[in-house]
């Protein structure tokens, strides 16, 4: 397929410029001004062209929980949200802890997925925290990182061995930092609100202790460590100190931990139940500061779809998680960029280059690079309407919130995966008359 993107603002790690991009055979063939090339051409005047968004942390639930989400629907939600690449967590059923299961996810994604899927394998067999899984064989099968997400490897000896073992191939371990001995059955942030509501609190120190332990082990083993969904000011401070002394640690934060607080849990709103829990305003500030000063490398969705009826229960019984793939970018664009709290360049970095660097990748808008591209319409507005989600998970605490800077086109390896809010509306079906 050939496609010429014309008159766009191009923003990537090398800066901002104006011009055209010619895509051919899945790659960026040419970048320039006033290009005239055979094939389709589309005018993107007023639009922003980015390297495709990357999500380091998504739960697509397949295999095993296809009632919540599938690889097909989850990747459609990703395309809708402007993501060209997503990393899928291993806590499916069965757990992705063997090379064969890594292959299965890849094959399924290739056949039915709308975006690139990079599987994450388990650190320990069955996420049980006991025996190291086949990290080497899974790596050869295509796992880009390893995580027991949902669980933390509680036993320090096992975690230490896993890091030693992973370091020999420079594998990436992704930690869900939560010391369960400090956080038994907490359902929301610990503190006065939880105590007033009569709910069991999840203490922020359970996260900070886990973050600090993992940093110490990473420092001693040389393992590449990524800490996912940081939620507390203490965690940000710990990562900042570790980076200052040269530890190979990276971190991400979710949109909901940047924007939302525990106050949303009041009235026992199960849509606001998530793990780690929504914290307090000072944590949101600290996370934002970490984003701005480089302590936090990436924004990841922790897309965690659940069935409607699963959330329609008591706060204690409801599953934790927020469905976030398709609104992550425009939600942050509306509430962080348009409000002037962070520059557009920061949001672009944290959702394109930042996560790629964590994975040891890079992509700029230049000839020869893979044509993974997201087109943003900075003028397009909407509100969050979970009923219209492409994801099977409608669980979000931000229904009715403003969205801005909507993704209007997602191009994955040169193929249009999403156009004007319709997934799969590529030129094979219709010509690209207008974008946005």
């Amino acid at each position: 397929m050939e496609l010429l993107l014309k008159n766009a603002n191009l923003i990537d790690a090398s800066g901002e410029r104006y011009g055209d991009i010619w895509i051919r055979d899945g790659k960026i063939a040419e970048v320039g001004k006033n290009l005239i090339r055979p094939g389709q051409s589309v005018n993107l005047a007023g639009k922003i062209v980015l390297p495709g968004l990357v999500d380091l942390h998504a739960h697509l639930r397949e295999p095993g929980q296809e009632g919540k989400e599938t690889i097909a629907t989850g990747t459609a939600a990703a395309a809708q949200g402007g993501f060209t690449t997503i990393c899928t967590m291993a806590n499916t059923s069965p757990v992705i802890d063997t090379p064969l299961l890594v292959e299965l996810v890849k094959l399924k994604a290739k056949a039915q997925g709308w975006v690139e899927v990079l599987p994450i394998g388990a650190i320990t067999k069955g996420l049980e925290g006991k025996e190291i899984a086949e990290l080497g064989l899974m790596h050869q099968a295509g796992a880009v990182g390893f995580s027991d997400d949902g669980n933390w490897v509680q036993n320090a000896h096992i975690a230490h061995n896993a890091m030693k073992y992973a370091a020999q191939w420079d594998l990436l371990l992704i930690s869900h930092p939560e010391d369960s001995s400090l956080n038994a059955d907490g359902v929301m942030n610990a503190g006065s609100l939880a105590d007033r509501m009569g709910l069991k609190g999840a203490d922020p120190v359970a996260e900070v202790v886990a973050v600090e332990r993992d940093i110490i082990l990473a420092e001693s083993t040389g393992c590449r460590l990524h800490l996912t969904h940081l939620s507390t000011a203490g965690s940000v401070a710990a990562v900042r100190r570790a980076k200052a002394r040269g530890v190979r640690v990276t971190a991400d934060v979710t949109p909901h931990h940047l924007l939302l607080t525990e106050a949303l849990c009041d009235s026992y709103n199960t849509m606001a139940k998530v793990n780690p829990p929504l914290r307090r305003q000072q944590d949101c500030h600290a996370l934002l500061e970490g984003l701005l000063d480089g302590t936090i490398d990436a924004i990841a969705t922790d897309h965690a779809p659940h069935k409607d009826e699963e959330k329609q229960t008591t706060f204690d019984a409801a599953p934790a998680g927020i469905s976030g793939l398709e609104i992550a970018w425009p939600l942050l664009y509306a509430h962080l960029v348009e409000t002037g709290r962070i520059p557009l360049a920061t949001l672009v970095d944290k959702m394109t280059s930042g996560p790629r660097r964590v994975l040891g990748r890079e992509l700029i808008l230049a000839p020869g690079e893979r044509a993974d591209i997201t087109v943003i319409d900075p003028m397009a507005l909407a509100v969050v309407n979970p009923a219209e989600f492409v994801s099977m998970g409608h669980n979000t605490p931000v229904a009715g919130w403003k969205l801005a800077g909507l993704p209007v086109m997602t191009i994955v390896q040169g193929e249009i995966a999403m156009l004007n809010g319709k997934v799969g509306a590529g030129p094979a079906e219709q010509p690209v008359a207008q974008v946005g």
């Binding site: 067999k125 006991k130 025996e131 190291i132 899984a133 086949e134 990290l135 080497g136 064989l137 000896h157 096992i158 061995n161 896993a162 030693k164 073992y165 370091a167 020999q168 191939w169």
Partner: protein, 301 residues
């Protein structure tokens, strides 16, 4: 050389060569079927094994018998140790029976030295904990020397659970003292902190074996998997197992035994043309004859 053989670390290169040359002499005698030596006539050797062993115990027993010694065997099972006797009391009791030489294996590093320091008899370390197994080191080096014609300048790779291996430690000490280059390889979880060891550490087996003259394959104990040191036999074999495809050139293949076929080594390698595994066993008897006779001459007995 003092009255005992506890480690190869304690020996000079000249002393190592003396033992190796004498081992080679006994190997030639064994090949001629000469098993009626008189070097140790009138002497008594006690085999004291506080840990299970078949090969090493039999090897010492035959080495003593082929030189005309009396030999008694002591095993942990059914002994007075079970009744609570200390290691030293056991050793003193055995010494009191006019024993000249004790061959001791014990599961605790340093235990054999403790006995040696407290008895008049000569003591040969047949393996103490994770610390040393000097006669295994010597028989491995003898095998390498006999096959390669030299030791100096050779590149020897030791693959497997080096961290827990007394065989690896003795090989490293002997080989490097004689001028060989030693590379240890295996999962990072099974490699020692070798900061002050004269070896290279490399987790990638293909890089480690590049240009090697010899590979010594250590036994992988299955319980190491439960201890979280490696994920599975399949993954271990894929990255650190020795099959015939890794032995493309004239790399000499050693294994101290007992082998776990299919885990650290496969049949194609163990039974193939590069293998000296059964030759090692014969050299084991020869080198133990050399050790026992030399200690006897040095007046330890």
């Amino acid at each position: 050389m003092v009255k005992d053989l506890l480690t190869l670390e304690a020996l000079s290169a000249a002393e190592l060569w003396e033992l190796l040359k004498r081992g080679n002499y006994y190997r030639q005698r064994l090949d001629k079927g000469e098993k009626a030596g008189k070097e140790l006539r009138g002497k008594t050797v006690a085999n004291m094994f506080f840990e299970p062993s078949t090969r090493t115990r039999m090897s010492f027993e035959l080495a003593a018998q082929y030189q005309g010694a009396h030999i008694i065997n002591f095993t942990h099972q059914g002994s007075s140790l079970v009744k609570g006797e200390s290691l030293l009391d056991t050793a003193w009791n055995i010494e009191a029976m006019a024993v000249d030489c004790m061959v001791i294996r014990h599961g605790t590093s340093g235990a054999v030295k403790q006995v040696a320091d407290n008895v008049q008899a000569a003591v040969v370390n047949a393996g103490d904990g994770k610390h040393a197994h000097p006669t295994q080191g010597l028989l491995d080096i003898l095998t390498i020397w006999r096959h390669k014609g030299r030791v100096e300048g050779l590149k020897v790779v030791i693959v497997g659970d080096v961290l827990h291996s007394r065989v690896a430690r003795s090989n490293i000490q002997g080989l490097t003292k004689l001028g060989a280059q030693v590379v240890v390889t295996g999962p990072a979880t099974m490699l020692p902190d070798a900061a002050d060891w004269p070896v290279e550490v490399e987790t990638d087996f293909d890089r480690a074996i590049d240009g090697a003259d010899c590979v010594n394959v250590l036994r992988i104990q299955k319980e190491r998997q439960e201890q979280g040191l490696f994920p599975s036999q399949k993954e271990y074999f894929k990255f650190w197992g020795v099959d015939e495809n890794r032995l493309t050139r004239d790399i000499l293949l050693l294994h101290p035994g007992p082998m776990n076929r299919g885990i650290e080594i496969n049949g194609g390698a163990a039974d193939g043309p590069n293998s000296a595994i059964f030759d090692q066993v014969t050299n084991g008897v020869a080198i133990r004859m050399a050790v026992l006779s030399l200690l006897n001459e040095r007046g330890g007995h």
